[in-house]
Symmetry: C2
Subunit: 200 residues, 2 copies
């Protein structure tokens, strides 16, 4: 025991946070005790509320404390019949920030990874199948990451959507805007070349 039992517990438990080791947990605990008691208490309360109340949206699986997330609860977002498939809630946020997309989402909360025991069931693909079957979809946009797993997941979902004669697209991968060609890795450059389009 280095400190009092309660302080030792706090320092030990802070280490469940990703990237936090013994030294930074100790620094966090001291800073909270010395300077941030009020906001630290608030954080403790929010942590408990969030981990109790936040679940998954019943339509798209993103994190929300409500039955439906704001996007799924908005009938306007269903009007154009677009469904964008992403791996994480952060991907939804990134696409929303472009202000270029006004359809719905489905959040896999991961990608197919058989070695880690993550199969179609873990990604909610039975739920997605129901959604595809019963919705009035014009297009499924596959926005999983351009990784081996993300590509495999996209391929799997593409074959699901084609069963219902829904148009399937994959977001373009290539040289980032403002990026320098010589700094881009080979795989990205291959994607960029094979995805080339006529200049209009």
């Amino acid at each position: 025991m280095k400190f009092s039992p309660l302080l030792d517990s706090l320092i030990r438990e802070l280490q469940i946070l990703p990237g936090v080791g013994p030294k930074s947990a100790q620094r966090m605990a001291f800073q909270l005790l010395e300077r941030e008691r009020k906001r630290g208490l608030q954080l403790g309360q929010t942590l408990q509320r969030a981990l109790t109340e936040i679940g998954h949206c019943q339509h798209c699986r993103t994190f929300t404390e409500n039955t439906l997330c704001d996007i799924c609860a908005n009938p306007k977002r269903a009007e154009n019949g677009q469904l964008c498939i992403v791996e994480t809630p952060a991907d939804v946020a990134a696409i929303e920030q472009t202000h270029l997309y006004s359809g719905r989402y489905f959040v896999l909360m991961g990608h197919l990874s058989p070695l880690d025991g993550i199969g179609p069931k873990e990604l909610g693909l039975d739920q997605l199948d129901n959604l595809l079957k019963n919705g009035d979809w014009q297009e499924v946009i596959l926005a999983t990451n351009p990784t081996i797993e993300g590509d495999a997941t996209a391929f799997y979902i593409a074959s699901m959507a084609k069963q219902y004669q829904i148009k399937v697209t994959r977001i373009a991968h290539g040289v980032p805007v403002g990026g320098e060609l010589e700094l881009v890795d080979g795989t990205t450059l291959s994607h960029s070349l094979s995805g080339r389009r006529p200049l209009e």
Copy 2:
């Protein structure tokens, strides 16, 4: 708003922790929600208990949820009449781990820093004065850091202790054991030279 209101709050509040920016706060929130709900709830509870219950030891000012810390509550630690002055509770832990010291401590919770508004009062030096006046002390060991502020603080406390004819010592500073001379900074090397002792 990037996520649901409650998730946004969690991500924002996690950033009161030192070293945690928006990206790592988001990563922490997602990991807790996906994989660590139970331990995260426990952390929320411990955070609230710690920030409510942990105060300062009435004798030595270190952090404790009790009136006295374990060391001050142990009459054996008062027997040899040694009082070691340190800047932080972490310094107490470091000295305890040497198993070479069996006296009491006084924890300043900082060092004199007039520009930051930290004077004798903020370091509890009135309380220390009472302790020195009313105790049966053989030696005050100054173990503040070997920095300008730590040295100034040690000097200040030394003059307090001398009022009561208590022997005052300063811990030795020099080349760390196992360290290489050429890698040590000049100030440390000066301390090391001026603190030289005859080989026995």
